[in-house]
């Protein structure tokens, strides 16, 4: 078994004639925090969905935690220990915050037969406390503000004790202070639980402070991978963001 938590080889994702991803090679070591950046439409979300087994890649191979998961569906990938959050937080609106977390912790191995025999959940609320939502545990998740939905989703992902977590813009919709707190929390959690994180993010401040290394995706292809400092000063990145796509950088501020 290798030390790599995530390995993508020659991955393509095609929608008809259009390539959303083309010949992507990506290797993330166990315990690494990898940032994934790039302008809108670069294929970041497609990459996350593909790794999580939600939308299969057209070509190429995926290895997660030493298993070839290329043909696996989302449920199987999740059960292997790969958690994921969505760009627009996906939580269960009509259930309470507490129920969301309890369900997240137990649902993976819960057969319908066992589920029908009991009403009791035994929620581990420590993750809810960690993200600062313990006080709102009885509120329906649908009533939470955008930033809190993101945090709830994070707690739901972590409560399943994953080893690899794919986070699609974890700080989207947060104020800059909330975003920094969230980044700090992610750093702590990753260190404590020896998580491997793959994070896509628009907030560059967060990204450069959080990631051990960064991959830049442009037009579905990997432009470069390197340490944050190296990437930050790379001329090609400046071209992508401040050259042709300067307006877009504005928009994400």
């Amino acid at each position: 078994m290798s030390d790599n938590a995530i390995e993508l080889h020659a991955v393509d994702k095609q929608y008809g004639e259009t390539y959303a991803l083309r010949d992507v090679e990506l290797t993330v070591q166990t315990g690494e925090i990898r940032g994934l950046i790039g302008p809108n439409g670069a294929g970041k979300t497609t990459l996350s969905a593909g790794i999580a087994g939600e939308v299969p890649f057209t070509r190429g191979r995926v290895r997660l935690l030493g298993h070839d998961t290329t043909r696996w569906n989302a449920r199987r990938v999740a059960r292997l220990g790969v958690g994921r959050s969505f760009q627009v937080a996906q939580v269960f609106d009509e259930l309470s915050v507490e129920q969301n977390v309890a369900l997240a912790a137990e649902v993976a191995g819960l057969s319908p037969l066992r589920a029908v025999l009991s009403r009791r959940w035994s929620p581990d609320l420590s993750h809810l406390e960690r993200v600062g939502l313990l006080g709102r545990r009885e509120v329906p998740a649908g009533e939470l503000a955008q930033a809190d939905r993101k945090l709830l989703e994070l707690a739901m992902v972590l409560v399943g004790e994953p080893r690899v977590v794919v986070l699609d813009e974890p700080t989207a919709g947060m104020s800059s202070q909330e975003a920094e707190e969230c980044a700090e929390l992610l750093r702590e959690l990753a260190a404590e639980q020896e998580l491997t994180l793959l994070i896509t993010e628009h907030n560059m401040n967060v990204m450069f402070r959080l990631a051990h290394s960064i991959t830049v995706l442009v037009g579905g292809e990997v432009l470069l991978t390197g340490a944050p400092e190296q990437v930050r000063t790379d001329r090609r990145l400046a071209e992508v963001y401040f050259g042709s796509d300067a307006e877009e950088e504005e928009a994400t501020r």
Binding site: A52, E54, N73, A74, R75, A78, R79, G83, R84, F86, Q90, V91, F92, D93, E94, L95, Q99, N100, L103, A104, E106, V107, A108, G109, L110, S111, P112, R114, A115, V116, L117, S118, R119, R120, W121, E138, E153, M156, V157, G160
Partner: protein, 329 residues
């Protein structure tokens, strides 16, 4: 928000259900000594509320619109009718009917969950209609007349030999049926299904067996419909092809719309309201369908969330006013 309001909101469905079931029980007991016609009517109401509850469960919790619940309801009734000459015990007849409905739901579910949304609804409708045509054509199902004369006796030790006794016994069965539906909604099983309905992507990303749960939900709802179909056969002592017709599947959907899709009490209230509306209108005029239709149109336009929605709004308004008054003081 006060904790009282929150608690009321969280348990509103359960409280409403308890109240309506108690009212139904009182109604049944008060009619048990009435004319046979009234007994049959109320007995039917007591059965239909569970049936409509199972259709509402499918829609609201499992998240599929079935237009073919008559397959399991009517199928169970026919099974009881066909088995009656060979089986003496009503209890056994009921179990056979439910078993048949469950197996039918398990088989239909295998195929039907491969198709999405509207196609699903149409497929269930087509299947139901096929059974309807079949039942009318075949001699062994009694053709247009159907099957009749399979007398009742005792069901799980309770007397159902006359319509009056049946209605009194339904107090127990309806209460248990409602308890079952409540459990299916509020147990972990129901919570997982509601979660899947709310976000199947999130559920899959958490490793939930989405297809297994929805399939199980479909089969369970089919089984509950089967209980109702069997009870129907035992109440009327006859089964005719009408029970397989699409209106048997369609009426519960209309009833659910009247009562409100949003909560567990909605379908039950809608069912009682609809059946009484038809009962009263048909006693007054021959063109009752026209009047019922018009009233339904008005209700659905005026209260898109059904009767329960109206009550919910009214209660919220009162509570809000109270809170404001409290704050001012």
């Amino acid at each position: 928000m006060s904790t009282f309001t929150e608690r009321l909101r969280r348990h509103g469905g359960t409280i409403g259900l308890i109240v309506i079931v108690l009212l139904l029980d009182v109604l049944a007991l008060s009619q048990a000594g009435g004319s046979v016609e009234r007994q049959l009517f109320v007995g039917n109401v007591m059965i239909q509320v569970i049936f409509v509850g199972s259709v509402g469960y499918l829609y609201r919790i499992v998240g599929v619109a079935s237009f073919g619940q008559a397959i399991f309801y009517g199928g169970a009734a026919y099974t009881v009718g066909l088995a009656a000459p060979h089986v003496g015990s009503s209890t056994l007849l009921l179990l056979i009917g439910v078993g048949a409905a469950t197996i039918a739901a398990a088989v239909v579910g295998l195929f039907i969950f491969r198709v999405p949304g509207l196609s699903f609804a149409i497929l269930t409708l087509a299947l139901g209609e096929s059974l309807f045509v079949l039942a009318r054509r075949e001699r062994w199902t009694g053709g247009d007349t159907g099957l009749f004369g399979f007398g009742a006796g005792r069901l799980f030790g309770l007397d159902i030999s006359t319509p009056g006794a049946f209605v009194a016994s339904m107090v127990v069965f309806t209460s248990l049926g409602m308890l079952l539906l409540w459990w299916l909604e509020y147990s972990r099983f129901g919570v997982v299904l509601r979660a899947i309905r709310s976000s199947d992507r999130r559920a899959a990303a958490l490793g939930a067996g989405i297809r297994t749960y929805r399939y199980a939900g479909f089969v369970v709802a089919g089984a509950v419909s089967g209980v109702c179909g069997s009870l129907y056969a035992l109440l009327w002592n006859l089964v005719s092809p009408d029970i397989l017709q699409w209106s048997t599947s369609g009426d519960p959907i209309i009833m659910t719309l009247i009562g409100g899709m949003g909560s567990i009490v909605g379908p039950v209230i809608g069912c009682v309201a609809f059946l009484y509306l038809v009962d009263i209108a048909s006693a007054i005029t021959d063109q009752w369908e026209l009047w019922v239709g018009t009233i339904l149109l008005v209700v659905i336009l005026a209260a898109p969330r059904g009767v329960v929605g109206l009550v919910d709004d009214a209660v919220s308004r009162v509570l809000r006013r109270k809170e404001e008054a409290h704050r001012v003081r």
